[in-house]
């Protein structure tokens, strides 16, 4: 992992990484990837990929409304709301 990989990952994750710590973060992540490399050396031919660590299947729910309108409670927590809408910095395509 070099500095540009870290910059790209930070951008994708919307995380700010101070310039002074980039080298340290790069080394930490490289250590983790080295461990992953070791795992990847294991022979997994013929083994189906695991979707979940629990050996169980998903329960489904009936299509029935169970939630009521709690907009006032939720919007009390939001930084800004107006006319029932949550306000966020202007969205540009």
């Amino acid at each position: 992992m070099d500095r540009s990989d870290i910059a790209k990952l930070a951008e994708l994750a919307r995380i700010e990484i101070a310039d002074s710590t980039v080298d340290e973060v790069a080394k930490s992540i490289t250590d983790v990837l080295t461990l992953v490399d070791q795992l990847q050396a294991a022979d997994t031919d013929g083994i189906a990929p695991m979707a979940h660590p629990l050996d169980a299947t998903q329960r489904l729910r009936a299509d029935v409304v169970t939630e009521s309108n709690r907009r006032e409670d939720f919007q009390a927590l939001a930084p800004a709301a107006e006319q029932g809408l949550y306000l966020v910095p202007k969205v540009i395509d």
Partner: protein, 483 residues
Amino acid sequence: MEWETVIGLEVHVQLATTTKIFSGASTAFGAEPNTQACAIDLAMPGTLPVPNEQAFRYAVMFGLAIDAEIGKRSVFERKNYFYPDLPKGYQTTQLESPIVGPGHVEIQLADGSTKSIRIHHAHLEEDAGKSLHEDFHGMSGIDLNRAGTPLIEIVSEPDMRSAEEAVAFARKLHSIVTSLGICDGEMSQGSMRFDVNISVRPKGTEEFGTRTETKNLNSFKFMEDCIALEVERQIDLIEDGGSVIQETRLYNGDTKVARSMRSKEEANDYRYFPCPDLLPVEIDDEFIEAVRQTLPELPDARQQRFVEQYKLSEYDAGILAADSATAHYFESTTEKCGDAKLAANWVMGEVSAHLNAEEKDITSSPVNTDMLAGLIARIKDNTISNKIAKQVFEDMWQGEGDADAIIEAKGLKQMSDTGELEKIVDEVIAANQAMLEDWLASEPDKRKKKMGGFMGPIMKATKGQANPGLVNQILAKKLNSML
């Protein structure tokens, strides 16, 4: 150089469930903003999704309808990206193990030919909320009512070669999902949205050109216009020595202008991984068979039945069978009036013309099947002519009552009184001496056609109410006696 267009579609279909895919919040359209966005939809900490069984049932119905293999073990994954209408920071979707595997859809083209379009797969996922880009002091407003609405995304193979084929395919999917009752098909409300992948290549070559993707089209007309525009743009680019860039584009159907949204280089790296909040969903044969038992008649089967049962042409049957509401209206009218051919003509003619003009749905037609059947009955028993019937239909549409009431109130009953008609025919002949001379002097084989000249004045004299068959008989008899 001759170019070939290559088109593939990704179609988002909102499922007609009562609640969201992962929460028990309502999906009803048109509610006040954020009144149907619960803690799960808002990604509040500590919440866990529980999938909606009905969404799986609907997805399986679609899979069976397109003859696809059903994914008996499907897995939800996280597609990570940041956008304000996506509170979790990822969309829960399916990638490696979707609920519906490869299938196919048959389309019919205007020249009568058919073509099979392959479906790559269809997967279940959640819809996002809506950003309102109106200016709230330099900020955007977010409504999350739509967040978590269940979708199936249907991904086709790049099997279409023209806008006509793409639109036929889109219409067919619309027809299938509405006939199944798994989607309300309201395109103006975003219930079905189309992403169109377009590329061009020199005709006869195998290799695909670079494609662009135009997102979020919500009308068949916009799709057709947008494809024509994009194909022309790509060909012009290449012929001018340039090359197509792989990018996402937006098309504005009202202004007919398309623009680039983002190019794939800076495109999102979605970092998919299996969602740890959801276990794999397993569906057994019993579930699939139970769903199969509930499958309604599909458009193709209905079309064939209409051809056989009502002796309609393939084309007419195709139009009437395409959506279940129209099919039901046609069959109900036919049953009540006993004449499939007339019922078909009226439904495809006056009824659909009036519905289109007023952008109404057939289920809210002011003329119901009882009224239409009543009108057809009066044409069949010669009470009124076809021409008068159109006038009566217009009055029924305006809410003036049923056919019998309108015919009675306006005195539109056809004149079938022979004595009275003979008198009028005599008068018209006497008043049109030049026409009579001309008729008497014409070649015998032209006389029948020329006799038509008298019909106008006769119909005028009877305000269009003369029984045309009877007038013809009387007129022929009188004229021939003068030879």
